[in-house]
Amino acid sequence: MLDTGAERLLVVAPALNEAAVIGRVVRDVREIAARADVLVVDDGSTDETARRAAAAGAYVVRHAYNLGIGAAVQTGLKFACARGYDLVVRVDGDGQHRHEDIPALYAALCEAGADAAFGSRFLPDGPWRHANPEGMAIPPLRRAGIVCFSCLIFALTGERATDPTSGFACYSRRATEVLAAFMPQDYPEVESRIILHRAGLRTVETPTRMLPRRTGASSITAARSLYYAGKVTVAVLMTALKSLEARSPYDREMRVMPPMRSTAGSRSWPSR
């Protein structure tokens, strides 16, 4: 069980055609974080994803068409900003993340006083070294790619990110606001580390395991992985160059780039 005290927690689960598992994901999360709200962002599914998520007790926001994983997470973060949540946990809608680790993620965030905590499969003291029958086997090539991204992030930010492609994360209010405005779109996991660093926010990692997918296929197939690696590298380098100036009134309202503005009270976006 997770107790966040007076802080309001939103668990965001982006989902695309996950009708088979989304109900279980929502129920799992609600069991572990009973006082949290769950938001499923349905990124243009053509199956029953939205209905089943709602039936399991989640808020559901549906994109009219597929906007991509980055935009789906961003929609969740915008929802959290608008409703004044203090914390956001992001899990995958396909049930790959171990929801039992959400309390550990939250604890890591609080303990370090950080603004973002990421679940990592590769921390030296993590469980990945041990016999792990239910854990996901990671092909060597993918492992090599992940190490490359770690090095890239270290070179650009000086921070250690042992599992930069992990999407299992807990964000503070400040991190939520930054990413609601500047969430990278195509490969958000790696790039968002750069954004958070540039916004002056601290990140920590905590050990977790990832489960094998229950259904469907990973969005990264073996043949595409090299192409993926190249694209992410270019995208990360571009992210390091991008201006973090607000470009729309909405961004401006959300802006927490230096100089930092206090964000007391909840906003009533999108009305007003």
């Binding site: 926001v61 994109h63 009219a64 929802f79 999108p270």
Partner: protein
């Protein structure tokens, strides 16, 4: 280098037609000012160059280009490149706005549905 009269006449007619088309598109508001500017510049440049054939030769001499028509090709290519770049910027802007709008619509729909649910509950 002398260009045959018939070629010059054809060039002037074509460039004048292009310029007129651009102006007409602006007049009927089918071409927004932001994109119209670069097209106008291209149209006027082509028109002036075709009208005054000596201009190309003079410019070529100035830049030490041995074969003056190359200059026209280079200028055309540059205009095309700039226009393409501007179009990419425009498409990027629109893609961003479209995403923001889609998210906004999705969030509004959720709010509306929740509100409707609440109001039917309170009526029952």
């Amino acid at each position: 280098m002398a260009i045959p009269l018939i070629q010059r006449i054809v060039a002037v007619i074509i460039s004048a037609a292009l310029l007129l088309l651009i102006v007409q598109l602006i007049r009927t508001r089918r071409l927004r000012e932001e994109y119209a500017l670069i097209w106008l510049a291209a149209g006027v440049t082509i028109f002036v160059l075709s009208l005054f054939g000596g201009l190309v030769n003079w410019l070529a001499g100035l830049l030490r280009v041995s074969y003056p028509p190359t200059l026209i090709l280079v200028a055309g290519l540059l205009f095309a490149l700039v226009i393409l770049l501007l179009q990419s910027v425009a498409i990027s802007t629109q893609a961003d706005r479209l995403r923001d709008l889609a998210q906004y619509a999705a969030l509004l729909e959720q709010r509306l549905a929740a509100q409707e649910e609440r109001s039917t509950e309170s009526h029952e």
